[in-house]
Structures are given as C-alpha cells and as structure tokens.
Symmetry: C2
Subunit: 419 residues, 2 copies
C-alpha cells in the first residue's frame, strides 16, 4: 500500500479516536443537531452528489458492471432526499447512551450500576449502495461513536461527496473533526489495513458479499461483527396448512431473491411432498425459478435438475431453489443446523408441538412459524434504522440497531471501601 | 502437531457440537442433576485427584516453577471440596436459557419475541489453577453450552482426573457424551489448533497471561472474549479526602498484587501531591512495594526509581507501582484512556462534578468513585460464579457470569404473513 495513504489512514484513526472520546459524553441535543445539519447538507449538495454519481455510473458502465449493480449504485433526487430523511429519523430515535441497565447495593455498601456507553470507533466496509455512507454515519453519531467508512471502489466519487458534505455539516454543528472519516482510495490493501488498525478501531462491521467476508475472516485483527450471510430455509411440515405454505415459500424465494433473508432451500415432509410439490414447483418455475431437487423431489416432479451436496450449502441470492424431501421434523432441524448460516429459518405447520420444537431447536438469529423469512429486517422488527443483520452469536444477533452499536460499563459508588 | 491428536481434537469438536444441540433445549432439572452429580464425583474422586496433583507438583518442582505458581497449582481436600461446592452453587443459580427479553406485536400481526439461548460450544484456554476445569465446565453446562477445555501443561495430570470424573458423572446423569471435553495433551500447537476450529467452536475464552493473549490475537479465527488484561489506575484528585485515599491506594496495590484488578499506576493531582505522596509512598515502601515515579514525584519523594514511558503501559502484577503527578482531572482521564487496558479505574474525590466527569469519561469495564479497584469480580458484584473478566467491548464487558455465556434469538409467530 502507498505510504502516504498509510499515513493518512493512521492520522484518520488518531482523529477518530479523539473524536470518539468527545462523542462518548456528547449531549443528545448536540448529536441530534449534527444529524439534522447533515440531512440539510445532503439536500443542499444534491447537484454535486448527483454529478459525482454520474461519474461513478459512467466508470461502472465502462468497466462492465451488471445492470443490477448499476441500479444499486444509482442515485437521483428522490434517493438523496431519502438519505436526508433517514438521518432525520435517526435523530428522532431514543439516544441509547447513558441508559442505566440496573443499579444495586452490595452488603459492603457499594452501589453498582450498569450503564450503556458507545463502542468507540466503528469501522465499516461496504459495497455499492452510496446511501450506506449516510445511514451508517448517522447511526454511529447518534450512538456516540466515531466512524471510519470504507465504501466500494465503484461508488468512490459518490461516497466522497456525501462524506464531505455530512462531515463538514457535523463539524459546523459542533462535533469534532474526524468524527466521520472516509478512506478516499480504491486501493484494496487499504481495506485490509483498516481491518488491522487495532489501536484506533474498536469494532469492524463488514457489509458485503462472500469475498469481503472471507477477507475479514482471514485478515481482521480488530473485533468484527459478521453480517448478512443467509442460507435460509422454509420447512413445510406434514401438518402444514398447504394453502399457507404456498405463498410463504413463493414470497421467501421470489419477492427479492438478492437479499440475505431470501430462502435458498425448501424442505418438505415426505407425507405431504406429492400433494404439495407439483403445484408449488410449477408456481416457482413459472416465476423463473430454477429448481434443484433431491432424488425424491425429482421422482415427484420429473424433469427438474438434480441437487448436489454443494447445493445444500449455497446462498444463491438469485432465482434458484434447492428442494429436499425429508422424513420428518428432526431431519429438517438437523439439515438446517448443519447447512444453515444461522440467519432466518421458517416452519410451516399447524401442529403446536412441532412449531415449539422447531423454534427451540433451530439455531438461527430469527426463527419463524408460518411466516416468510423475508421479515428479518430492523425496520420490519420495529427498531428503526438498521446497521446490518448479524449472523454471529457474540454481541449482536439479527438486525442491529442503535443499541447494538453500544457496550456497557459498571459504575461503582463507594465511601472508601477496600477489600 | 501429531496427526492422531489432530484427529482426536476434530472428533471432540464434532461430539461437542452434537452435545451442544442437545444441551440447547435440555431442561433446567437435567442440567442441575448433572451439576450435582459432578460435585459428588469430585468428592468421591478426591484421592485420585490429589494423587494426580502430587505428580503435577513434583514435575513442576523439577521444572523449577516458582513457589507462587506451585501454590496456584496445589490442591488439597479443602480445595476439592470448594470445587464441588462451586458446582452446587452454580446449580442453585437461575437458568439463563429461555429467558424472554421482550415480545411485541407488529402492525402486520407478527408477534416477535427475543429469547436467550446458549452460545453452543465454548472453548477455554487457561493456566495453572485446576479448579477452573470444574468451574468453567459447570458454568457452561448450566448455560446450555458444551465445553472444550485446554488447561496448562503444568496441571495436565490434575485436569485429566478432574475432567474424567465430572464428564463421566454428567453422562451418567443423562447429558450426552462429549459435552465436557479436555484436550489431553501438552502440545502447544493443540492450543493454536483449538483457536482455529471454527466448525466446532463458537466462542473462545482465553484466561491467562500476556503470552496466551498474544497467541490468541495472532492465531484465533474463532470469535473470542479477551479477559483479564488489567493496567488499572487510582487517581487521587485535588478534592480527595486523603484519609480515604491512603487505604484505597494501599489496598488496590498491595492486597493481592498478582490479580488483574490490582492497581499498577497511581495518579496524583499536583495540588495535593506534597501533602499526600510522602506518607503514602512510605506506607507502600514499607509493604515492599517498589515505586517508579515521574520527575515531579521524585522531587517530592527523593531516592525513588525513575519511571520510563514504558512504565505507564505495564501490568506489573507484582509489588511495583508507577506514580505520576498530573496537572488536573482531564490529564488523569487522558492518561488512563491512553495507557489503561479498560479494566478497572478509580477516582478518589469529594467533588461531585469531578466524580461524575471521571465516571463518564473514563473508558473501562468498571469505574469506581472512592473505592478500591480490587472489587471488580463476579462474586463481589453479586453474579455468583464468574467465567473471567472481559476487557473487550463486544458482547461482554467486566465480570462474566452465566448470562454472558448466552446469546439471543428472535422468535416470530405468524399466520401466513408474506412481505
């Protein structure tokens, strides 16, 4: 990596650390003022943002980005307005910092309390969608954290203008310089360097595809929260109401196949397989879904592709569905716990005990009875804005809101106690 | 590493994963029965445990272990009884698994709840004290986790007999084989291998010295919770009641210098330095403490050693104290936030606003007003048994009890909802 970039990043780290110390005890009013100023700045800078975004789109087209990627990258006036509105909504959320999670008195007279505090400096590595620049910065500022942003190279021009606008506005509102920093480089090594800036970054949040996740697992020495790995399943039990099952499976696969809470594998109890699968698979095929079935599936619905062992472990993120007929509830649970990524898992069943067993035994961030996996989302769950969906078990699991960007500390009041 | 050991460890990992799935939904009664059976087994096996411990002590003496280490390693009948008693106390604690942390209804009719669940498989790497084998296993079983234990080589014989006794008792009580596993080898590479068993270990908890911690930071790919790095400070403010300050500083340094919540640096406001330091340092020197002072300290108390920059960053864990005179509260806070490890930090002051500022601005797991840092401890805080003291910000911070060995999941009840 270029030496001057390295120095710049270390400087950004130091300033973010200083800014975090200030932010840790900043008042809610000051943080909200900054968020509202940031929203206003985005609106004022709309022409410059759109111009930079045009440049990114042109470069993207030259480099042959898919139309889906270009679509995610593209901004327009309405989308910039949405970003500003998002910041205003974050300003309206309750400040998590300083919340007292309990206070108790010990026999020796010590009074011990647990208080919510910011994490410190949050590093975020993300791809394509430039609105993440504003959303993530807003959530971090509200929760008292400084943020170092590393966006995708395809959105560098857009991110630069957005970051400059919101960070200048935050400073004018009274936040310290360096509270919102963007790594202004498309050097891939800069991302790796960020993953190892242990002195200056408290937590890393990667948001992106499998490549990014692998890079983080291999290189990060900073603690991280893994997000959005979703090999999700719908299990149609022998006691399923098949009239409910059909729209649930269809919705979980088809409504938005590119997102992490979309279903990738359908498991069907053998007792209902021949009643359920032909109609279900016809619906899916008609919607353009490629079916990859196990042997039993193929004997019920001939002419479909054969699933291999790898299919059970794959997060397609497109219109492909693996289908397996299972002997019973326990085989379904086992399959999910073996092949799932612990994101979102659903059972369709009218049997009380089967539902209870599935919800208790399946090891995932969100487990559903008789509903689509597509609901795993901070907004849908009622948390307001979301920083990603954690698929790990430590610290945060499932949709991450403001609370998940905090830690706690113990505050102990004494009168000269010694041990 | 030896290929057969590698295979054994992978086998232990697989069995622990299976056992964890069973434990995740095991009843509180079954887990408590197992804990009580484990306690009984330790008592029954006391002669064999003490015999194995004698062997460890002999080998330790031959290898020239310090008397402090030998003391930590040594078991006797009373200590084995304490281990058994510890397991009975864990059985008496409330089961954290299944606790419902809230449930709410969304406009679309979905009912969403958050439920506490086990982490899965916990790996623990520890040193010297063989009682950790029973304590850690007990805490993990109660919180529904399987455990893989990797003790210090110096305690291998003791740990082997203890682990065999409790794991056999747990099985007899109805827990699956492999719920409690010990890595029966002194191969250092086995510890590194455990740190990378991502398929079978959900969380790693290292408990030991700086060497272990470095090895974990460098090698672990499994998520870990760092424990017990304690460069702790006591700050004596200009508004301190010096009669309170003297016993607090003395206690924080001298009462048990080898533990992570002992103080390593004393910060004194310049306005009270000449009134406070001569008597304080005389007390400490008399107790055998080596003082390493800054220039201003040495001008007040001549004849003491000079502190270097490195001293501010050091966790002595012995009778050495670094002493620095500071210009004011903010310099003290800055010094602590720059050099501290985020463990336990204390202010001695009668000034309301200074106390409030210190508690809010110092970034540590536990912050104290007018009490010794020595109180940071699961038992003292009222949590019952403790799995270590986390000095990281993610997931757990401060003393870790049963709750910190759990995660949560979202449970969603629907009636056919789709998005």
């Amino acid at each position: 990596m270029d030496e001057s970039l390295r120095r710049t990043m270390l400087e950004q780290g130091k300033m973010a650390r200083q800014a975090a110390r200030f932010l840790a005890t900043a008042s809610t009013t000051l943080k909200n003022d900054a968020l509202l100023a940031m929203a206003k700045a985005l609106e004022n800078e709309t022409p410059a943002i759109l111009e930079a975004n045009q440049l990114d789109l042109e470069l993207g087209r030259q480099q042959g980005l898919t139309s889906a990627l270009l679509e995610r990258l593209a901004l327009n006036e309405a989308r910039v307005k949405d970003m500003a509105q998002g910041l205003r909504e974050i300003a309206a959320l309750t400040d998590p910092v300083g919340e007292i999670l309990g206070m108790w008195r010990r026999p020796n007279g010590l009074e011990i309390g647990r208080v919510r505090t910011p994490l410190g400096v949050v590093g975020i590595i993300y791809e394509s969608r430039p609105n993440v620049t504003a959303d993530a910065a807003g959530l971090c500022i509200k929760s008292g954290n400084a943020i170092i942003l590393r966006g995708g190279e395809e959105a560098l021009n857009s991110n630069r203008v957005i970051a400059r606008a919101i960070s200048a506005a935050a400073e004018t509102a009274g936040l310290p310089q360096g509270a919102i920093a963007l790594i202004d480089s498309d050097d891939k090594e800069a991302a790796v360097f960020l993953m190892q800036m242990n002195d200056f970054v408290d937590v890393l949040i990667p948001r992106g595809g499998l490549g990014l996740k692998k890079a983080v697992m291999e290189n990060a020495t900073v603690s991280y929260i893994m997000t959005g790995m979703g090999n999700c399943h719908v299990y149609v039990d022998q006691f399923a109401d098949l009239a409910k099952a059909r729209p649930i499976v269809f919705n979980a696969k088809v409504q938005r196949p590119s997102v992490c809470n979309a279903a990738e594998t359908l498991l069907v109890h053998q007792a209902v397989a021949s009643a359920f699968l032909p109609g279900m698979l016809a619906d899916l095929t008609e919607a353009g879904v490629e079916i990859r079935g196990c042997e039993r599936t193929r004997s019920i619905a001939p002419g479909i592709n054969s699933a291999t062992e790898q299919d059970w472990d794959q997060e397609y993120l497109e219109l492909i569905l693996a289908v397996k007929v299972v002997d019973g509830l326990e085989e379904a649970i086992d399959h999910i716990n073996t092949h799932g990524t612990g994101h979102s898992e659903a059972i369709v069943s009218e049997n009380y005990s089967h539902v209870r067993r599935f919800l208790a035994a399946v090891d995932a961030a969100a487990v559903y009875a008789n509903a689509s996996t597509r609901f795993t989302d901070g907004g849908v769950f009622g948390f307001g804005a979301e920083m990603g969906i954690s698929t790990q078990k430590l610290h945060a699991r499932g949709p991450m809101g403001l609370t998940e960007l905090t830690t706690t500390k113990f505050i102990v009041y004494g009168d000269g106690q010694i041990r």
